[in-house]
């Protein structure tokens, strides 16, 4: 029976059926649900690693030791694991190794729009790209046979619309893969210059074989509809093209996007008068076509930015206007994402805004602290940068600037890549104040456990990294734990710690309001009483439940969860908590 399955769930199913034994990942939208779905399969060892580099290395170790392994990440996660990736290309594999990377065209939940296909080329690792859930499963399984056949890791490239769309998938049985023999083989696995120099030769030979394979594999297919127009596409862009153009053009669908075929493309193009390359983001396939002397239309007709749509393709290729629609003739307010009612971060940013501090920010739900009305965050670059960038800021601007500067970083992000930045501060005599926003979970990606929560991905109790002990052992002498909803105390602590001539850490501790335990804690709602002087102090919180009705403040009881933060900031005791 066919099942409706998310692309990510289908990749997980593919891994299961392919006999995968180990999966290690760090969460990142839009890749997270692959690893979450692996949890369904008891035959697979699965874990959340502290970051993508660690995750990749766990998978690499499992592969070298003879089992099929996988690691999954979002596009920017691949940057973190890149160091391991470039060298595992040289060592090759023992058990099959697949690295799933999900790009985020349109930046639904990311800080950039990088095109991960460049990594395949740069690291000389083959890359497959499925177009729907059924292909997600099929390509995952095929990736394992190819990995072992060609002795190479394989990238599976996904995108938001493939990862997060559900389509029909036929489930099959798992094929157990016996562990491959493990033998000491330093020439293959010890990448010091004397060995690596020989492995580079192997890599180049492998690339030649893979390029030949690309000419004949069924992963790449031609659909000849007798048209003069040809379209070369892969992944979700193929689906958009197919919907827009139907059988009015010929298609070369590329399921394997690195290395790309030459003769196949030349033969396809020879039968068409005009060839379009339809690919979101960078002209990766287009540049290859042009390099082998094929005159294709690509980024001259299509944008480098964001997601494509079928009507955009129809207009560019066939010159047909998109469907008519009812336009909105007035300027309507956008609805950007906001911190939830009851969000523990709200108390922190309320204080930081009030104190007028420069805030070096990081990646997580709390990045929303950059938006009005809390508008506290000055910078957000990448995972961990809040800590190290603040150190750089202080070094260039000096002690007075430093007294008005803090870093904010979530518990999971701190584990991911905040620790090394903090070590740098201690080692190099910095005196920054770092606020770890400990909400007891990895929030933004949808509640994954991490080394500070005390539970594994399978919800088994485990040792919990103690943030206080950790910071102290690095050499931070001043570590304070505070509840960010106790705004007066929290404000005093931030003032004291930023004044210090030594580095310090404040752990802002309050669990995410969406966690089941907090949902039980936060019952009822808050109400405004007649003591209200309309000072609008509570409006400064940017709580989605509090808004103005004329000049009166009102609390929307369908959104309020009674967290009580507004009660704490009201100077007139005019807000009451009700059960």
């Amino acid at each position: 029976m066919k099942k409706l399955m998310l692309g990510n769930a289908a990749v997980a199913r593919g891994a299961y059926e392919a006999g995968v034994r180990v999966v290690s990942s760090y969460p990142g939208t839009p890749s997270t649900e692959i690893t979450e779905n692996i949890v369904k399969y008891d035959d697979i060892y699965v874990e959340w690693a502290p970051n993508e580099k660690v995750a990749a290395e766990v998978a690499i170790g499992a592969s070298i030791a003879g089992g099929r392994a996988m690691s999954c990440m979002k596009h920017v996660g691949l940057n973190v694991m890149a160091d391991s990736v470039f060298t595992v290309s040289y060592t090759g594999v023992n058990g099959g190794l697949v690295l799933c990377v999900a790009d985020d065209q349109g930046m639904h939940s990311s800080q950039n729009e990088q095109d991960s296909r460049h990594y395949a080329k740069a690291s000389k690792i083959m890359m497959l790209e499925p177009s729907d859930s059924s292909e997600c499963k099929k390509f995952t399984k095929q990736a394992y046979s190819l990995s072992e056949e060609f002795d190479t890791p394989v990238f599976l490239r996904l995108s938001t619309r493939v990862s997060h769309s559900q389509s029909l998938v036929e489930e099959e049985e798992r094929t157990e893969q016996p562990l491959k023999d493990y033998e000491k083989n330093p020439q293959k696995y010890v990448m010091m210059p004397g060995n690596a120099i020989h492995r580079h030769v192997v890599v180049e030979e492998r690339m030649k074989k893979l390029a030949e394979f690309a000419e004949t594999t069924e992963l790449n297919s031609v659909e000849d509809n007798g048209s003069e127009i040809g379209v070369i596409a892969s992944g979700i862009a193929y689906m958009y093209a197919k919907e827009a153009l139907g059988d009015r053009v010929n298609y070369l669908k590329l399921g394997m996007i690195y290395p790309l075929p030459e003769k196949l493309i030349q033969d396809f193009a020879a039968k068409c008068c005009k060839v379009y390359v339809i690919e979101e983001l960078d002209p990766f396939i287009e540049e290859h076509c042009k390099a082998i002397g094929i005159d294709v239309i690509g980024k001259d007709a299509f944008t480098l930015l964001g997601e494509y749509t079928p009507s955009m393709i129809k207009e560019a290729v066939l010159g047909e206007a998109p469907a008519e629609f009812e336009a909105i003739e007035e300027n309507i307010p956008i609805r950007p994402p906001v911190m939830c009612a009851g969000c523990p971060h709200r108390g922190v940013f309320y204080v930081l805004k009030k104190l007028g501090l420069t805030v070096s920010g990081d990646i997580g739900c709390y990045t929303l602290g950059a938006a009005a009305p809390l508008q506290s965050i000055d910078t957000t670059i990448c995972m961990g940068a809040s800590v190290s960038a603040a150190h750089g800021m202080s070094k260039v601007r000096g002690a007075e600037f430093n007294k008005k500067l803090v870093s904010v970083i979530g518990d999971s992000t701190f584990m991911h890549s905040g620790i090394t930045g903090l070590v740098d501060i201690v080692y190099n005599k910095g005196n920054n104040t770092i606020i770890i926003l400990d909400n007891s979970i990895t929030g933004m990606t949808g509640h994954q456990d991490n080394p500070t929560t005390g539970y594994t991905i399978r919800k088994e109790p485990t040792k919990q990294v103690n943030l206080i002990t950790l910071c102290k052992s690095i050499g931070i002498e001043h570590v304070t734990v505070a509840d960010p909803f106790d705004v007066k105390l929290f404000e005093r602590i931030v003032k004291e710690e930023t004044e210090r001539d030594e580095p310090s850490v404040i752990i802002a501790q309050r669990p995410c309001a969406l966690l089941p335990n907090m949902r039980k804690t936060y019952t009822g709602h808050c109400t405004i009483t007649d003591k209200c002087k309309k000072c609008k102090m509570c409006m400064k919180l940017g709580c989605p439940a509090i808004s103005l009705d004329g000049d009166a403040v009102k609390i929307d009881t369908t959104q309020c969860n009674g967290c009580g933060l507004c009660v704490n900031v009201c100077p007139f005791e005019a807000i009451e908590q009700e059960d």
Binding site: L4, S109, S167, Y240
Partner: protein, 186 residues
């Protein structure tokens, strides 16, 4: 059939689109459901697409192509209007949730949305929040709206009931079945 489900992150649009997707499979259609995860789920505008038919390629719906728009909030119904096909229908919950630019006072919540919509397109506006309250749980707004959608799509009601039974946790089943009936009969 192209159905777009719009609302505010946290309102349960994802569950609604999954129920609809599974109903379509039971009717032997090819189906695609495009979801939104990550940052946009945090109280922002959320859009999911459900498409079914003989063969579905693209999981997304373009402007002017939705047969039905199911809106969980009235401003989101208005925002989605350009996606409606000529002759299509919007089913909208009249609930108003202020977005942050309105809360901060930077903009006003548009006035008379229902009137503006019904002047231009086929609108069925209902108070799904009151209906959910009547069913016994404010969170059942999504299933009230699913009931309305079931009625509008000319499909076998039993398929919907079976799908809800398979999707919703046991302890919430009674409330949700009640919410569905209220929506179906609105």
């Amino acid at each position: 059939m192209n159905i777009m489900i719009v609302g505010v992150g946290g309102q349960g649009t994802l569950l609604a689109s999954r129920i609809l997707g599974n109903v379509a499979i039971k009717m032997d259609y090819d189906v695609k459901v495009s979801e939104v995860h990550g940052m946009s789920q945090r109280g922002g505008s959320v859009v999911t697409y459900v498409k079914y038919g003989e063969k579905v390629y693209s999981p997304i719906i373009d402007r002017g192509e939705a047969d039905i728009i199911l809106a969980f909030e009235i401003l989101e119904a208005y925002r989605a209007m350009p996606y409606l096909k000529k002759g299509g229908k919007i089913i909208a919950n009249t609930q108003q949730m202020n977005p942050m630019p309105v809360i901060t006072g930077a903009m006003e919540y548009p006035k008379d949305i229902e009137k503006k919509l019904s002047e231009r397109i086929d609108l069925q506006a209902v108070d799904a929040l009151a209906a959910a309250k009547e069913a016994g749980n404010l969170k059942a707004v999504n299933v009230v709206l699913i009931g309305l959608l079931a009625k509008s799509t000319d499909t076998d009601k039993q398929i919907w009931l079976n799908t809800i039974k398979e999707t919703v946790p046991e302890k919430l089943l009674d409330v949700n079945l009640k919410a569905f009936e209220i929506g179906y009969n609105m």
